[in-house]
């Protein structure tokens, strides 16, 4: 591709890659699998099993590849964004149509599940969406594409017969279990995050005042962060079990080596590092002239903290909470091993039974929760941070989030 002087016709490489991935996945990998019952792998079927709408999906992929590579940069991104929104809906429709036609002659425990090709296509569309979203400046275009995608996917799911899909059938069977698991998961994460904030924010403030507290708190929290989550639960088992047998009254409150209490203790410990560190950085990063002005006007210590230092550090403090939330949503899955409940139960049960649908039923809500937490805390930051400083300390915020996100996979992998 020749770069022109103005860069008008340069290829949107990211969007093109996403569209090519989607196209390749749709054409070469099995779109759905037909399985005699919920635990066997079953045989693959191509996208053509969906009929005409399947062909439409393939054509849409080709269209997106073409647009990403040939369209001029001025209108490319919004167009691609709308294409991706439509593509999501068409794919959901295709999955339902394929499942409907494959199951048309059966009545027993047969199932049709989402195949590798369909997952690949979803991933490809997600990449296109990401690239196109970044390139679309207009908020109206962004919102209407989101609305179109949401309505389209919902309509396609209802009208296209997504209820035939294995995952949806599994959900119908397990919905009560799933929703209570989601509630339990939120309870664990909320507990860990709540205690983490109650301890971490004051500790971060103290760390900004006293050097030794800073060294001790951030050092300790850093060490805690390196302990694999499963090992942490093992380490907590003995002292908490001993505590419960020494003071049996504590058992009433769930204290013991197993259950929610040790899980929340572990999650609190993991939440500490991002919260303490970001609070410390936020408070100690406040311009010394601000502190001088506040003191010079007669503020006492608490007034200075609450009226000047905390409001100025708020973007970073909320950023720390966001990182901690995403982190603990992942780690909470592991606490299923010590009978704490949560979405991890579904994942591990599904893995044990080789029931892929059950595993997905546990894993997908976790992804959704993590994304919602991320979006929620960003929204909270916009709502709470004063317009006078909004968007200023971005660089330091980015430092923390990369450090925090880097440790997230460790928790999930343990």
């Amino acid at each position: 591709m020749v770069r022109t002087a103005v860069g008008e016709h340069r290829v949107d490489r990211v969007a093109a890659a996403g569209a090519i991935i989607a196209l390749a996945a749709v054409l070469t990998l099995p779109f759905v699998r037909f399985r005699p019952n919920r635990v066997v792998t079953g045989e693959p079927f191509a996208v053509t099993s969906a009929g005409a709408i399947g062909w439409a999906l393939a054509i849409l992929c080709v269209l997106m590849v073409t647009l990403a590579m040939t369209m001029s940069a001025t209108h490319r991104s919004p167009v691609l964004l709308f294409c991706a929104a439509v593509a999501f809906a068409v794919e959901v429709w295709s999955l339902g149509a394929a499942a409907g036609s494959l199951l048309a002659t059966t009545t027993g425990p047969e199932r049709v599940s989402v195949g590798a090709g369909a997952w690949g296509a979803f991933a490809g569309f997600a990449i296109v969406t990401f690239a196109a979203w970044r390139g679309t400046a207009s908020r109206i275009a962004r919102r209407s594409a989101t609305l179109l995608g949401g309505i389209g996917v919902t309509a396609a799911a209802v009208l296209g017969g997504a209820s035939h899909l294995s995952l949806v059938r599994e959900y119908v069977v397990q919905s009560e279990v799933l929703w209570s698991a989601i509630g339990r998961h939120l309870f664990l994460v909320g507990g860990g995050l709540g205690f983490g904030a109650l301890i971490g924010v004051p500790l971060g403030v103290a760390a900004s005042r006293q050097r030794w507290i800073r060294d001790a708190a951030i050092g300790t929290a850093g060490i805690i962060q390196t302990i694999p989550s499963l090992a942490m639960l093992g380490l907590l088992f003995t002292p908490l079990a001993a505590l419960a047998s020494a003071y049996p009254v504590l058992r009433q409150y769930g204290v013991g080596g197993l259950g929610a209490a040790p899980a929340i203790v572990a999650l609190t410990l993991y939440a500490l590092l991002p919260i303490v560190r970001s609070t410390y950085l936020g408070i100690s990063g406040v311009d010394p002239d601000m502190v001088d002005a506040g003191r010079g006007m007669g503020m006492n210590g608490p007034q200075l903290l609450l009226r000047v230092q905390v409001p100025l550090a708020l973007p970073l403090i909320i950023e720390g909470l966001r990182v901690a939330a995403v982190l603990t949503i992942g780690i909470a899955a592991v606490t299923a091993f010590i009978s704490a409940g949560g979405l991890g139960v579904l994942v591990f049960k599904g893995l044990g039974q080789l029931a892929d649908d059950l595993t997905l039923l546990g894993a997908l809500p976790m992804v959704v929760l993590a994304v919602l937490a991320d979006v929620g805390f960003r929204w909270l930051s916009r709502a709470l941070v004063s317009p006078g400083i909004r968007g200023l300390p971005e660089s330091s915020a980015a430092d923390i989030s990369t450090a925090g996100d880097g440790s997230a996979p460790r928790g999930a992998a343990a």
Binding site: D289, A293, G294, G296, M297, G298, M299, S386, P387, G388
Partner: protein, 364 residues
């Protein structure tokens, strides 16, 4: 109003301020000047206990400040600093209201006060809802001054409050500060390293060097008879010119200068009725506003010039003799007209008046 008695501040072995005694009377502007590191900011910060003296006593309003809680003391002393120190997360109104809120004023009284202060420092009322990052440097400095004045404290401490703006804005802010001070008569301790600023604003100047007071006197006295070579050198070689910066044109202007109203002027020109020895005759419109002048030097007796000369040369009554002199040198003339703020001719100031001012010590 403020009295320092033998005040010293030691940081380890080195002393920032040593055995400093100073008295600032009520309603007076005392400017602390000196090179950087001379202890002027430390001295200022000891007055509101942001720095605690190692030895010595400080009294504000007759009370030993050690007997007052620091927060209580500071709420009754206005404080403005060089970087302005406005809180970026608060609006202008809330910034100004910081001390009133600490003192527990009710909302109505506070917002009324904010309105008064904005108009006092010359900012429109809609600035109340702006955030500091929406202000220019000069506007931010004005808000800083308004904030220091918010609770109407009798004493103001100002640490290079006009330090962070361009020279033109600084001069305007200095002029406004002088106007506000004339009205409010606060007791002000003002730190600067800018000698011109000190001379312009001070009632009394305290020159510091290495934490020691070199001289504490009126600007005229310091310029006329510096106590030692350091003060002499620090004030600079243009001391005579700096003296002129203290003297207002209005104190030396001659009134009743010959002027003709252009609309009523006869065909013979403006120099016809000029008294002997009067080189310039001013031209005004019927309202009295200056329009220009006739230079009668080249005119033979009885024959006037009709051409009005105008080179933009006039000074306002509240300008300094230094500015008037600068204008004369720039225009190559020996006198300039003086106007009021609306441009109406009041009189003129001539080079020989300035010479008198210099030789007579500028008795005002």
């Amino acid at each position: 109003m403020i009295r320092l008695e033998g005040v010293s501040k030691l940081y380890g072995e080195s002393s920032a301020v040593s055995r400093l005694s100073l008295e600032v009377s009520a309603g007076e502007v005392c400017v602390l000047v000196g090179p950087s590191g001379c202890g002027k900011t430390t001295t200022l910060r000891m007055i509101n206990r942001l720095v605690e003296p190692t030895e010595g006593k400080i009294y504000v309003g007759g009370r030993d400040i050690q007997s007052v809680r620091p927060e209580e003391l500071r709420r009754h002393i206005g404080y403005a600093i060089q970087s302005v120190g406005l809180f970026p997360h608060l609006t202008v109104a809330v910034n100004i209201a910081v001390v009133p809120r600490l003192l527990g004023w009710d909302a109505a009284r506070t917002s009324e006060r904010v309105g008064q202060l904005l108009s006092l420092v010359g900012l429109p009322p809609e600035y109340a809802e702006k955030y500091p990052r929406q202000l220019s440097g000069g506007e931010a400095q004005r808000v800083g001054v308004a904030r220091a004045l918010a609770a109407d404290p009798p004493v103001l401490l100002m640490d290079e409050p006009f330090g962070a703006v361009d020279p033109l804005t600084r001069e305007r802010l200095q002029g406004e500060f002088a106007r506000i001070q004339k009205e409010l008569r606060k007791t002000v301790v003002f730190v600067t390293h800018d000698v011109d600023e000190a001379i312009r604003l001070a009632d009394r100047i305290a020159v510091l060097r290495d934490g020691q007071l070199q001289q504490h006197a009126s600007p005229e006295e310091i310029l006329d008879s510096p106590a030692n070579k350091f003060v002499h050198d620090f004030m600079g070689a243009d001391r005579a010119l700096k003296r002129l910066g203290r003297v207002r044109v209005s104190d030396f202007m001659r009134t009743g200068v010959p002027a003709v109203v252009l609309e009523e002027m006869g065909a013979a020109g403006g120099c016809v009725d000029a008294p002997e020895g009067q080189r310039y005759v001013y031209a005004t419109d019927s309202r009295g506003a200056l329009r220009g002048w006739f230079d009668c030097a080249g005119a033979d007796a009885g024959e006037g010039l009709t051409e009005v000369e105008w080179r933009g040369g006039s000074v306002r009554f509240d300008a300094t003799l230094r500015e008037a002199l600068s204008m004369m040198l720039g225009l190559g003339v020996r006198a300039v007209p003086v106007t009021d703020s609306s441009g109406v001719l009041l009189g003129e100031v001539a080079l020989r008046d300035i010479e008198d001012a210099m030789t007579n010590g500028g008795a005002r």
